[in-house]
């Protein structure tokens, strides 16, 4: 396992795009992890004195927002938020989707039909409404956003896993496992699932990118993570009205969120190329 991961990293090393992606993601991860130590100011500290001149200065490298909060600090803490919520949400979706996909693909028949139909319905459901209903009902919290993303993305992951399962379940080694009387859960988790790892890992990073966008959109529409803790989408929304005078307040978080998504997508591209060549 470790050897394989190391091999993948080595292969990734040969993809310039993948390296760039990994570098961007690692950069933001470092920012997020080290925010408590690196951030020059508390992210929510409001300083009315700074509002008069909110532009980048020696004290506030990226300037302050309309409440006089240090943008760099908020950006770093925002990285921490998004890099916690997005992976948690995608992991949740991956766990649920993988389970459903394995069961649907392996069992086939009515179980498959029903699970896939439920998934299709969920996918046909206008997402924004689902988000709104859940958030209106249960409030805008990181947990609820994770839950909603999990539910809306799981069907897609289930499809990927189901496709792999349908392919793999007819492989001879699965037959061999059944012939030694392995229980279904073992066949699913030990024999089939590891073979979905490649597509799942690539999809994981792509999906992280989408999720970062989704969280940003929720923030931008004003139904994202609750203030005051910094969330890049909300930072854009809050300052968007001032773009004509203080564009940096909006453009900096917009650049941050774009770069992170680019990072994830490049990383996924690199991993895909690595798996193709490997």
């Amino acid at each position: 396992m470790i050897a394989r991961a190391a091999a993948t990293v080595a292969l990734l090393g040969r993809s310039p795009v993948g390296c760039l992606g990994a570098a961007i993601v690692l950069f933001w991860a470092a920012m997020g992890i080290l925010a408590p130590w690196l951030a020059p100011y508390p992210p929510n500290r409001i300083d009315p004195a700074l509002i008069a001149y909110p532009y980048p200065t020696a004290a506030n490298w990226l300037g302050v927002d309309q409440l006089g909060r240090d943008i760099l600090s908020r950006l770093m803490w925002g990285a921490r938020t998004v890099l916690t919520v997005a992976p948690a949400a995608v992991l949740g979706a991956a766990a649920l989707g993988t389970l459903l996909g394995l069961v649907a693909g392996y069992k086939g028949g009515a179980v498959d039909s029903i699970l896939m139909r439920v998934g299709d319905t969920l996918l046909a459901f206008p997402k924004i409404i689902l988000y709104l209903i859940v958030i209106a009902r249960f409030g805008a919290s990181a947990f609820n956003i994770i839950a909603v993303v999990t539910v809306t993305q799981a069907p897609i992951i289930a499809r990927i896993v189901r496709a792999v399962t349908l392919d793999v379940k007819n492989r001879d080694y699965v037959a061999a496992a059944r012939m030694r009387g392995e229980p279904t859960w073992f066949v699913l988790l030990a024999e089939i699932l590891p073979n979905a790892r490649g597509p799942l890992v690539v999809d994981f990073f792509l999906r992280l990118g989408y999720t970062v966008i989704a969280i940003g959109v929720l923030g931008f529409l004003g139904i994202g993570l609750p203030p005051p803790d910094p969330d890049w989408g909300s930072m854009i929304k809050e300052s968007y009205g001032t773009i004509f005078v203080w564009p940096h307040m909006t453009l900096i978080p917009a650049l941050a969120v774009s770069s992170l998504v680019i990072g994830f997508n490049f990383l996924a591209t690199g991993l895909r190329e690595a798996s193709e060549d490997g």
Binding site: P48, L67, A140, P226, P227, P228, G241, F244
Partner: protein
Amino acid sequence: MTDKLHPLVTAAGREMADGKLDRREFLRVATLLGVGAGAAYSMAGLSEPAMAQGAPRKGGTLRLGMRVQDLSSPHTYSWIEATNVARQTVEYLTYTGVDNVTRPGLVEKWEASPDLKSWKISLRRDAKWRKGGRPFNADDAIWNMKRMLDPATGSSTVGLLRAFILENFELDEIDPRTQKKRVSFRLWDSNAFRKIDDFTFEINGKSSFLGIPEAMFHYPAHMLDPAEGGKFGVGSNGTGAFELVELEVGKRAVLTARKDGYWGGGPWLDRIEVIDLGDDSAAQVAALASRQVDMIYQGAIAALPAAERLPHVQVNSVDTAYTAVARVQPVKPFDDKRVRQALRHATDTEAVLKVAHRGLGKPGEHHHVAKVHPEYADVGFMRRDVAKAKALLAEAGYPNGIDTEIACRPQPDWELLAVQTMVEQWKEAGIRVKINVMPSAQYWDVWTKVPFGFTTWAHRPLGVMVLGLAYRSGAAWNESNWSNKEFDALLAEAEGYLDVERRRAVVAKLEQIMLDDGPAVVPLWRALFNYSDKKVKGYRIHPTAYIEFKEVWIEG
């Protein structure tokens, strides 16, 4: 206007002469009692402010950026935006100006009985319906008033006039939820509205009420053509200066000038286009900057810095008693008044004003009476004192501070900014508050229920009005469930004084009670503001956010 002065005008004039009545309050009372604005100004020794900003020019189109709402039922409007469109066609009986002075509208003059229970209203004779050319008469006015007070209509005017002219009665139906008979209301007397002649009628109430002329300026109190059955829409009849010619809810509305002559002079504009820009502040600025609109109905704080920098745009503002208060219900930990005090001590209202409202307005003083209110009493400005807040918390048994959650709305944006600013300030005193932002619609479902919330309170001309609505024990809108017997008693006393100085003395005590025991943090008094293109003339922003276009023109 009137031949003889109402006795109270004379009394009020005396009080003013004695220095007991504020000049502005005298103006209000005098005009409410039927004295013409010009006369009242001269009685007060003031000159009426001139409205004109040069010679009006005829012609042109004004484009207003404002939500375009459904307009079909004016008597039940809940939002100023709707009335701002409708008002141009279907007018009010009176007009309360920026200066708090109520002037005639479709009403030419009014006279109140000495006990303020009976009001004689005379209509002007030159106001004509656009369609049919029939003059606006007493039947029209009475029909509209009665319709607004009919429980089936559901107009908010009821709340204003209920005590004056309505009575409760039991229906035969049983409410399955409460197992009691359902209660409804009706006019207390068949003579409540009595037509005297075609242009004169009488309003007879069961109690004294000074505010009748102001009530006629209540935002849904549009005078509709009875023939249209209370509905309003494109082409609807009206006495106003404009005609609604196009309406697409959520998109736009178009009004064009009336061609057959309007009683009030003007209008100058040929055409008004209302464009719905959504709630997004950036869209406002973008539209303003790229000259897609000439005027924005209400400025968002986020758009203010940009608007200030646009050379062709002017920011209009007016100090008001508009605010939003962070109020708590008496549940743990806020059941202890020391905790409530700590909340106030931990708040730096000047900073909140500066940060959240960009300094436009006045810092709040934690009692719900504003400097613009006539009976405002200065009981001292409460400076922020974090140490004291901490001490109070410790005293109350929370040495490590408290954790709680505040509910608020994302719109208008300054509210959320204010909450964030206060939350940050409170944190230093050990009051750790999470913010629960809920969509406006949802907030209005729970605003009287959440233990800790941040609620907008609109501008009202008198301080005691808000105190009565929001802080009296058991009042429907007492969102904080706060109950203080002494406060209730003093408030009743204050409401009984027409003499503003006597009222002020009581209000000072009320304010002190609010500071000591009250449920609210009042962070600021807003200055209402909006933006208009510099070529828009004749416009003054009104504390109620009403827009009247008949006097507005576009410079060439």
